[in-house]
Symmetry: C2
DNA sequence: AATAGGTTTAACCATTTGGTTAGTTTTGCC
DNA sequence: GGCAAAACTAACCAAATGGTTAAACCTATT
């Protein structure tokens, strides 16, 4: 039997308790939210004693906040550099669509988790202004001056693009139940979605 | 002092306990969801004894289900007749946009409440197939044959339109926090939104 | 006024739940 | 091996919470 080397169990094959807790907490919180999650459930999933949760993370609030911060930073694709690239506004939006849709395909629970948490307590958000709206708007107005895009309200437009990317993942359960499509059908739909949205984006922006 | 007339207090000016409970339960459940709501909170808001909740509605589950069913039926605008009207697909979609956006402006908590509930237990939905997808799709294909609309995937398109209508109300807290707009700004945005979406719809559908 | 039935209340109950603690085991180091 | 610190466990605790009950209170009818 392999034994851990250091007291803090770093650099060992054995998964540290802390990591096991974080993985379990992520799964439970993401699926059930703060109110719907139980500390015992997290402990059971991690295969450890419930007291360990408090030993490592002090309280449910602290553990939740840890998970939320990590998940919140993952919610939006990393497009900081994109905003300053020498490509058209339309292309920037299309790249965002591609990135965000694929990101959410791999993290389908993310949107509902984030929205619920912020809905309950919007103090969480303040720290990170990750929606680079003003950068995108600037790019839009540059292209508008060059008559490369139609005249419209950029906030309304970007809100619409984000809506088309994110909302399907929120409405999946309703959609699947009400028009009777399977999980596989939904996945196919989401696979084709970036192309479809990009077509809409171009149609809307074409001057 | 006005006294109630009948034993069951029907037809009196005095608001019946049952109605007070339903109003309070609606407010609390809508804001906090099932897990986040407390029976005591509902009783306090209704200004009645907690035991009354069980006297009239037996259990938290039963009370919640009562509220959910009512709210779920309000989530989607009544457009049954619309589907059979002799107007173009584009016009039908535009009318839906107008109706749904305005409906949600008056019930901004509705989408998150519905989505959360169905996410936790999608058995709720089965009963009412209120998304008249097939009706709309039929109308689309009629217009496609007449070359009045562009060739696209109607499910993807209608999902997009619904996204643009509903998602802003879900993302309001994030939006307001991250790009720092006030409740009034948001209301103005939502006031202008139907027109903006309809412009997008026409641009996308134009053959 | 007496009665009977629905309505309301306060006190109570059992369970769940986040959190703590005292003591035991493991681990790294001398 | 011995020791001290860290990791871990089981048992426990107090508060919260959904739910119940027995008694009191109205209200309409007789």
């Amino acid at each position: 039997m392999v034994k851990p080397i250091s007291q803090t169990m770093e650099k060992t094959e054995k998964i540290s308790t802390e990591v096991k807790i974080l993985a379990a907490a992520e799964e439970v919180f993401l699926k059930s939210g703060y109110d719907g999650s139980r500390m015992q459930e997290i402990a059971d999933l991690a295969g450890i004693n419930k007291a360990m949760l408090h030993y490592y993370f002090r309280s449910k609030d602290a553990l939740f906040e840890r998970i939320f911060e990590q998940k919140f930073s993952q919610f939006f694709p990393k497009i900081q550099e994109l905003t300053t690239m020498p490509i058209s506004f339309t292309e920037k939006v299309c790249i965002y669509v591609e990135l965000h849709t694929n990101l959410l395909r791999q993290n389908p629970y993310l949107p509902l988790f984030i929205i619920n948490t912020v809905h309950k307590n919007n103090d969480f958000v303040k720290k990170m202004p990750l929606l680079l709206f003003s950068e995108f708007a600037k790019s839009y107005y540059t292209d508008l001056a060059a008559n490369k895009v139609k005249d419209l309200n950029p906030l309304q437009f970007l809100m619409s693009v984000m809506s088309m990317c994110v909302f399907p993942f929120l409405s999946k359960p309703i959609l699947c139940s009400s028009i009777n499509i399977s999980d596989q059908d939904f996945d196919t739909l989401m696979n084709n979605r970036p192309e479809e949205i990009k077509r809409y984006v171009r149609a809307i922006l074409m001057p």
